[in-house]
Symmetry: C2
Subunit: 246 residues, 2 copies
């Protein structure tokens, strides 16, 4: 007894629910196990389905649950650590193991990207689409913007859009001297196309990693990569080869 704290600030129901279910997940459920459906759970806890859903949404946001329409709600495995460190400065595509080139087209970039590129909003750029696959799962979708003028040997600017052309642009990029790069991470919500590639619904929370690649004092390329926030933890290993396992 003692500090029973009689609801000086009454806790919202969904918040309390989240705690209760969260504890149940730790003790009574195994990873991958499916929970009772939402109507069942709502009835069991004596709340409306909307309230129950509010609790489940939070747990999904924290990476503890995974919900799929038409299937059900399952207990999520711990988030996988995805290395995004920049200690080994390198152009994208240097370690071709994790990123798959999907496509490449020529277009004018969004205004925000043009600003980062220090280019006119209507300057045409290569737009390379890549997918990061880890343990058989797509964890990130990337758009890499490279102004045509920055890659000298036009690697088939008129070549048919596709993976081959994407690899061509990456190859040209790697000919340049990389002076440095800076990076930012922020919360966003998945655009429709990214959501599709990541097997999520549009609007799903994602971690947006924006990288600016510098060469000869200019911005040579900008990458905007959206990582699934539910399943990923971004890691920056800055201490030799040590990586946070967990």
């Amino acid at each position: 007894m003692g500090t029973t704290q009689l609801e000086s600030v009454p806790e919202p129901k969904y918040w309390h629910l989240k705690t209760v279910i969260g504890e149940a997940l730790d003790s009574d459920f195994a990873v991958g196990e499916i929970l009772p459906n939402e109507r069942e759970l709502a009835a069991r806890f004596g709340v409306a389905r909307a309230t129950l859903r509010q609790a489940l949404e939070q747990l999904e946001l924290e990476g503890r649950l995974q919900r799929r329409r038409g299937v059900g709600t399952t207990v999520a495995p711990p988030r996988m650590g995805v290395d995004v460190s920049t200690t080994q400065q390198a152009w994208p595509g240097a370690g071709e193991d994790v990123w798959q080139s999907v496509d490449c087209v020529t277009a004018t970039p969004p205004a925000a990207v043009a600003r980062l590129l220090e280019a006119e909003p209507d300057e045409p750029v290569h737009v390379v689409r890549r997918l990061r696959v880890t343990q058989g799962q797509a964890v990130a979708a990337e758009l890499l913007y490279v102004p045509l003028a920055r890659v000298p040997g036009q690697p088939a600017a008129d070549a048919p859009a596709g993976p081959a052309r994407a690899r061509g642009v990456l190859r040209e990029l790697q000919r340049l001297v990389l002076d440095g790069q800076d990076r930012s991470v922020e919360l966003g919500s998945a655009r429709a196309d990214d959501a599709k590639e990541l097997d999520r619904l549009p609007g799903a929370p994602v971690l947006v990693v924006t990288t600016r690649y510098l060469s000869e004092g200019r911005t040579a390329a900008v990458s905007v990569a959206t990582y699934r926030a539910d399943t990923c933890k971004l890691t920056f290993g800055d201490s030799g080869d040590l990586v946070m396992a967990s």
Copy 2:
């Protein structure tokens, strides 16, 4: 005529709403301006308030809106870039400008932290509470865990809890040799205490930055910092002194 796309996949209402309002924000509103209240907006768009709220929630998640109970919904300023780079390896508290020491107590860490510390779950640690303030605003709340055994000169282990003791622990830490650090970023939701310090409601989305400080081959300290995801963009400047302004 052309690609009118007759709803092959009917877009959810709230998604469409989000787009419409988002565009209106760009063209018709200035930063800081207050929007009409939710009931008014819902009526104007001919939807239920819950649906309107779903759209506003997304926009808030993306840092475009700011909502405060009892006050209203305002247009948010662009996210501020917060530097969290680790290029200059340093113990916490080395640049005392941005972090304010708030408190320090002795306790046993959560299980997950104990694991990172490579310590027994019941080993007592200093828990230093700090607040990161930028431009007059609290942007992050941190808990720094330092095992008592790691800091040699017990800096008043029984001293009264408070800022003075916090600074004492940081001072002791800085006597050690820092071998390296690694870091991870993931999405989380604010615990009640963090939410209070960050002036948000519990459950608000946050970016959780976990840092492990290594000394003499061991983990000397673990920091868990929760940044407001709505107002912050974490930056990692790895190219000299260049910072992404935006």
